[in-house]
């Protein structure tokens, strides 16, 4: 079985401050990890993915994520948050043996205050 957990329902930061959204995973074998963002009444937008290679992955809109195998984590980060980053963020994991099924976490609501 595979699962992904987002331990924080909400994250609040001031504009210009660093933003971190946490994600931990539980899979058998090598994980394929993704981050998506969802704005109100919209579909999910792909931000970045980790498949293999460098543990630090850079994605869209200045976001990056660090894969940590020992801690089974894939936290999303942005050095300087913008008000426009306020949205719902989902971590997802995909597993080769499970027919590449993509499973999502419950989501973290990010609010960036001006």
């Amino acid at each position: 079985a595979q699962s992904v957990a987002q331990p924080e329902d909400q994250v609040n930061v001031a504009e210009g401050n660093p933003l971190t959204v946490k994600c931990t995973y539980s899979v058998s074998g090598n994980p394929y990890l993704f981050w998506y963002v969802q704005y109100p009444n919209r579909g999910l937008q792909f931000l970045l993915k980790y498949i293999t290679g460098d543990n630090l992955v850079k994605g869209s809109y200045g976001f990056e994520a660090e894969f940590n195998k020992s801690q089974t984590s894939f936290h999303l980060k942005k050095p300087s948050a913008l008000v426009s980053d306020s949205a719902l963020y989902f971590c997802a994991v995909r597993q080769l043996w499970d027919d590449y099924k993509l499973s999502f976490g419950a989501g973290t609501t990010v609010t960036v205050r001006a």
Binding site: N41, G43, L44, Q45, F46, F90, D99, G107
Partner: protein, 115 residues
Amino acid sequence: EAEVAQSPRYKITEKSQAVAFWCDPISGHATLYWYRQILGQGPELLVQFQDESVVDDSQLPKDRFSAERLKGVDSTLKIQPAELGDSAMYLCASSHDRSNNSPLHFGNGTRLTVT
């Protein structure tokens, strides 16, 4: 940039009625997914197509839900009869293929309200 098209954006229906959602994936994308997203939760996979074939419908409530992708392009998801608990956002997504390297591209969804 090409997008996944879904219609309608919003649908209100009474319980026991039939309802259908339509999805047109990005051209050339072989894999199509239907997800259900209940408010406050992450999307849950209902059904996955590879071309016109269903490869995973293990979470699809088959007594009332059906999905088809007859020509391997656009797809329809149907609920008959609708129940109050079906109120949710229904998201369609497509990817170039089933591999781990292919990110999913989502449509804007259909928000269903069952009264």
